[in-house]
Amino acid sequence: MADIAARNPAVVTGDRRSSLHKLMQRKSTIAFLMALPLILLLAILVAYPAGFAVYLATLNKGMTRFVGFGNFEFLFGRDTFWLVVYQSCLFAITAVIFKAIIGFVVAHFVHNIPSKGQRKWRGMLLVPWVIPPAMSTLAWLWLFDPSYSALNWILAHFGIGNVPWTGEAGWARFSVILVNVWIGSPFFMIMYLAALKSVPEQLYEAASIDGATWWQRIWYVTLPMMRNIIAITALFSLIVTFANFDIVRVLTAGGPLNSTHIFGTWAFRVGIEGGDIPLGAAVSLFMVPILAVAATFILRDITKRGSEV
């Protein structure tokens, strides 16, 4: 319809204002129709389930009766729940910090070498991010194997005895964080490398003329220029890491003695495997506050940049 009006110049010149108005109206109708599949998909399969989770969490196990905050009260009284809260925060925060540090350091090294070779190194270092996490975690599980651990075989050469990678609570926590850092730091590396390349060379020249050491150059030039990217990458990663499932599920399945369960895996254990859907929904809802905080900061950054442009 709109094409006829747009294609026929006589219509436009003849009754200019009203046809333009009509054209605009049609345009927005067409636009709405074009976005409709997206709206339906997100409304039915994302927004609705998210709201439905809140309702589910207020039902009893058989989903026959409304129990209000009963599920939450039950969770607060359980030690395992507090263990999961502790482990989720420890896992997400430690992993994000290490990913950011390693990503930053590696990005610097890649940035240092001649640009001819950068593509090759970048390509090699991003491989952990490309492999499906469940598959690469299997490789780690095999590297951590209690009796045939290839890592322990290497460590034995340095005089370090058998490390119980997934067998002991402390080590198991370390292992899931290690695997997460291994998968995630290449992403940080790529983001920081892109940010490093956008820092104008003149700033470094000015800094070295003023006699700045390499540390001062990083602290007073690189970091302030990269602040936005560092923050937004860390927030993104915090959301993804906090909501992680694959790594913990494949590597330890929550064990030993629930010490590595995070919200996602425990919700799966309780809700799907344990058959208590409302309780599982209640567990997963505890992810919402931290997700909301991170999302708010990300959105604020994006709208701020949007208005600058």
């Binding site: 998909l41 270092l125 499906p132 997963s284």
Partner: protein
């Protein structure tokens, strides 16, 4: 040498010499640490490959685990002639290809509408798309589980335990991201281009297919690669919603069927994992630059 240069009055010379010496050392250290990090990052996939080329007898022998004495393709042959594994592969391939097609259709058209044809509430919708991108699947799988039971009761359509259910579910993970990338790419196209097309009498659809899609092709390729990678790697939804071995997709199939109780056949597991990782890795090897461009665009373009 440097001293004589100072003595003869060429004052920039010695300075330059020491800077280039610093530079050489910085370069050597950079390479040294890059090699260390590359070893760390590539160790698991390389160990997958090493293990996949060994026989079970060699794996359980207490020898150097990083060395292969008798390389063999037996694990690959066994796995690739096994009907079950081929079913997983087929399920994964069909699901991923369908999800890529559905995602790109929905998101390219919607991104065009959101970036160019502003309508009432379009700005809010763009923000909403971004928000749904931040909602993780770990929050949604339990309500979806219940919703599927309800659909079965009311409409008599069983969504549980079918691989094709994933074709309906995965777009929730891929569409918000793909739309977001495409909004960014479309917004960077100069307005004059589509105005010129409209003045020449092009319809909105023609503007999209003749101008926006060709110009934003790198973005479309990046979004396609991502959609494929995400749907190939998805683990939680198939683990929660499929159980029969004929309905599993590759990652879940490898994790649940190759590990039989306490008996771990590591040679086969590593072979399966490597074959499961192969399609995204091959695509990445050929289209690395698009992949990286999409990665940085996703979070930085706004």
């Amino acid at each position: 040498m440097a001293n004589t240069a100072v003595a003869t009055g060429a004052s920039t010379r010695p300075n330059y010499g020491s800077m280039s010496r610093d530079r050489t050392w910085a370069l050597r250290w950079s390479y040294f640490f890059l090699v260390l990090f590359a070893i760390f990052f590539l160790m698991p996939p390389i160990y997958m490959l090493i293990t996949s080329l060994k026989t079970s007898a060699e794996i359980s022998a207490a020898k150097n685990p990083w060395w292969i004495s008798n390389p063999t393709l037996q694990n690959y042959i066994e796995l690739l002639t096994q009907n079950q594994f081929l079913v997983f592969f087929r399920n994964s391939a069909i699901v991923s290809i369908c999800v890529v097609i559905i995602t790109m259709l929905i998101s390219v058209i919607a991104a065009f509408a959101l970036a160019r044809m502003k309508f009432w509430g379009s700005a809010t919708l763009a923000t909403g798309v971004f928000l749904t991108y931040l909602i993780p699947e770990t929050l949604l799988f339990i309500p979806l589980f219940k919703m599927f039971a309800w659909v079965n009761e009311v409409f008599g359509v069983q969504l549980m335990n079918h691989w094709w259910t994933m074709i309906i579910l995965y777009p929730t993970l891929t569409v918000p991201f793909a739309t977001w990338i495409m909004i960014g790419y479309f917004a960077s196209i100069p307005k004059e281009l589509d105005e010129a097309a409209l003045i020449d009498g092009a319809t909105w659809m023609q503007t999209l297919t003749k101008i926006f899609i060709p110009v934003a092709l790198p973005g479309i390729i990046a979004a396609t690669i991502f959609t494929f990678t995400v749907s190939w790697a998805q683990f939680l939804y198939p683990l929660a919603f499929t159980t029969s071995t004929s309905e599993l997709v590759l990652p879940v199939g490898i994790v649940t069927t190759l590990i039989k109780g306490d008996v771990f056949n590591w040679g086969q597991i590593m072979t399966g994992a490597l074959l499961g990782a192969a399609p995204p890795l091959i695509i990445y090897a050929f289209l690395m630059d698009y992949y990286i461009a999409g990665l940085t665009a996703g979070a930085t373009k706004g």
